[in-house]
């Protein structure tokens, strides 16, 4: 099996994701520059869209990347039930594509924010949060547009269908305004699609994949992702 890791012009976390996935046996991550188009995804069993500043975030984070040809290939893979993970800018691209509901608005502070946060693992019927019930994970965030927002209908659907696996919380697992770094609706840090095979996540699991970096909690999410690829 193999995992396609996409690089758009301006993506800058692709090496980090390749390194982190490389630690997981049988993951076989490989880099796909977006200009390869649909052909680039030919052999992919799963896709990761890493973080960064695709197209410089010049129009809206993720907007220009979301209309590239290769993105239709990602959509097809998602519809086939293959796992798709969008991290940070990747989440923004999945939202602009419409594969995930909602939009990532500018942070409340209107500034870029880089800090360590805690994630509470909420609903656990998602492949990404399997075996992690009630876990509190320590991961870093680094973004200027991570303020998740969606319509009331979309929020109700997300809640009813248990599609919010991760929310920002404090070190004890309590979600609160203080522990919300960017103003996200209901402290939402990640959402899945209806089928449950697509996850968009603002925090960076690949940056919390080695203890020496400050935490290896992110590896748990990545391992779930790899395990879900049949």
């Amino acid at each position: 099996m193999s995992i396609a890791v996409i690089r758009f012009p301006g993506t800058n976390n692709e090496d980090d994701v390749l390194k982190a996935l490389g630690k997981i046996p049988d993951a076989n991550p490989y880099l796909v520059p977006s200009r390869k188009g649909l052909a680039g995804l030919k052999d992919a069993d799963a896709v990761v869209i890493p973080g960064g500043f695709s197209y410089g975030d010049y129009l809206r984070a993720g907007a220009v990347a979301s209309v590239e040809v290769i993105v239709e290939g990602i959509r097809d893979l998602a519809e086939d039930g293959k796992p798709v993970l969008g991290i940070c800018n990747g989440f923004q691209i999945l939202a602009e594509m419409g594969l995930l509901p909602g939009v990532l608005l500018p942070n409340d502070s209107s500034r870029f924010i880089c800090k360590w946060i805690y994630l509470k693992v909420c609903e656990t019927n998602s492949i990404f949060s399997e075996n992690l019930e009630n876990a509190v994970l320590r991961l870093p965030i680094a973004h200027a547009e991570g303020n998740y927002f969606c319509s009331r209908e979309q929020l109700e659907a997300l809640r009813d269908e248990q599609r919010i696996p991760f929310r920002y919380c404090d070190s004890h697992g309590e979600t609160s305004t203080e522990s919300n770094p960017n103003g996200s609706l209901e402290n939402i840090a990640g959402v899945t699609n209806q089928r449950g095979n697509v996850l968009g996540l603002m925090p960076h699991p690949e940056r919390a994949s080695r203890q020496i970096l400050g935490s290896s909690d992110g590896l748990l999410i990545l391992e779930n992702f790899v395990r879900a690829i049949k």
């Binding site: 012009p9 301006g10 800058n12 209107s110 880089c114 680094a142 994949s209 970096l213």
Partner: protein
Amino acid sequence: MITKEELQHASKVLGREPTNTELGMLDVLWSEHCSYKSSKRWFYLFKTTADNVALGIGEGAGLIDIGGGYYVGVAMESHNHPSQIDPYNGAATGVGGIIRDVISQGCKAVGLMNCLRFGHLDKPHNAYLIENVVRGISEYGNSVGIPVVGGEIEFDDSYDENCLVNVVCVGYVKPEKVVRSSARTPGHHLVMFGSSTGRDGIAGVSFASETFSDEEEENRGAIQIGDPLAKKVVIDTLTELIEEELLDGLQDFGGGGMTSAAGELARAGGTGVEIDLEKVPLREEMDPSEIVISESQERMLAIVAPENLDRVILLLEKNDTPHAVIGKVTDDGHYTVRYEGEVLARLPISLLVDGFPVPERVEGKIPAQTDSITWFKEPEDYCEAVLNLLRSPNICDRSWVYSQYDQHVQTNTVVDLGENAGVLEFPNGRLLAFTSDCNSFWCSLDPQTGTANSAAESLRNIVSMGARPLFIADCLNFGNPERPESYAQFVESVRGLGRFSHDFDIPIIGGNVSLYNEAVVDGQNRRINPTPQIMIAGIFNQGFTPIKRNLVTPWANIFLVGETFPDLNGSEYQRMVIGEVKGEPPKYRPNWEKRSMNVILEAHERGLIRSCNNVGRGGVAVALMKMAMKSEYGFKLNMDYIPGTVNSMAQALFSETSSRYLAEVTESNQPEFLELVEKHDTMVCELGLTTTKPVADFSRFSISMDNARKAFTEGLSRFLE
């Protein structure tokens, strides 16, 4: 602007008047920023060599061997004048420029640092400057994907008209992949790639080599605009070109644009260049004389052997990078510029790059200071005094700034910002620490001592974490060298740094000088404090985990290593109490400094220290409070015995004597630790113990850590959004 003497000299050497284009070229290369004509003559004072120095000062980046088949590279630069006019773009392009310096040596850029100076934030203009400088650095560095691993900020009225933005970039390269900045072989092609050329930054270096005029419009022409997306593409492209070893030489288009880039390549290689300007990809219509001095960003100049040209062009096209073959290397020792066949300039390289007449500079006298502390009195409320120090913008929490920087991209960051130094992991498994420091208040009182002590402060920061010093890079920011007193400050500072580098045997492998940081305001001359920014990198022993400064064990001893003298002149406490600094600043004491350093380093090696901080601005009080700030523990002190000659609690708490460290040592390690102190013949005292209550108990007074944290975090954020 080129002076009359310089013009006469050029005409004499050429045997004719220079053409318009030639004048423009001479103007940029003979500017202070490019030529170092006022400063170069003093660099012999620096220690610049060592066994592990692979490439010293002179090219884009300095390179040092860190073993395991890797060199670490560093470059440091200033972008002060543009940031005063357009803080966002000035700072962003400063970052862009320093990255280019490092990658042009063949390195992969893995870390950034920025050292900033502004006037006080209660003036809205300064708040505007810092907000936009930080945003510029943040948006550029984050976009390109290089983490910020260090930096520092200081505030003083003297920076009102001249803010300072100094930037550092560190990277690594394998020895066999190093690319040199020289054009060695006549017949090789000059290939430029990256963004297209426009009018931005025309004569930026010339602008940086003058003091600000009152006419803002005049200043406005020289701004460069950065494009981090383009930079990322250049970096990706360069990686491929370097991997395949296709480049014979490489230089980035920085200050002085094409004139400087090609000129320096030719000078280094002992060759010449000829360039056809109509081949240069342009963004807008430009006069040929403008093309040759434009400072448009994100452009590189490569020397390519004919047999490699096709492959290079192929890779450039594959990456969609604008490029052009603009000329070739010659053997005639001249810089020839043509436009559609017409020769617009033909200057001997030797004249253009180093042939400027050395200007006379007069070293004035530095006014002497006394060491009296008659102004000193004990604070009425010790709690308030300590809280005010914590709240002071020169001491307080800087997370408002650094939380805007991506610190983790590339997943090499072992220690985040907010500690004494940032730490990165390198591909050979070694950990390196990076820090930078400058106490401009000490320097304003005694530039030589202040500089040497600032360097020592930088050293103490990395030593406190357990790293041994590896190299120095510096950025010397001073006033107008044509004014004797300003020039004297510069020369004295160089003496101080020179002494330090020799005393501690640490090579200086990179640096920059920024002069003319003076402005005339309402007829008055306003000059910045002498600000020699000293960046020191350290390396940890294999397998060593860097020690942070947060108290981690209850009921451990807190030791103060080193003697304390009444060094209150030049201190933050003095600034707080009387509103200015005066008197002799804390002395630089190399011998004692070395002894303390050796105690701490050996103690770290033996794993005896749980947390450690050096004593600097704000004295022991501030150093202790910082150790408790992010900790769940507090401390209780007994300040009866402090080695040295202080005779009051306030003197002991706020003196800024050099060579001192605080170490958290558990009971069981105490005897061994004390043995080490004796072995290295230095002084120590047990200040107190760590406690489980979040209270800073100084015995005569105590402060709740809640209040301390509140004061510490509001220091900057109360002025900013």
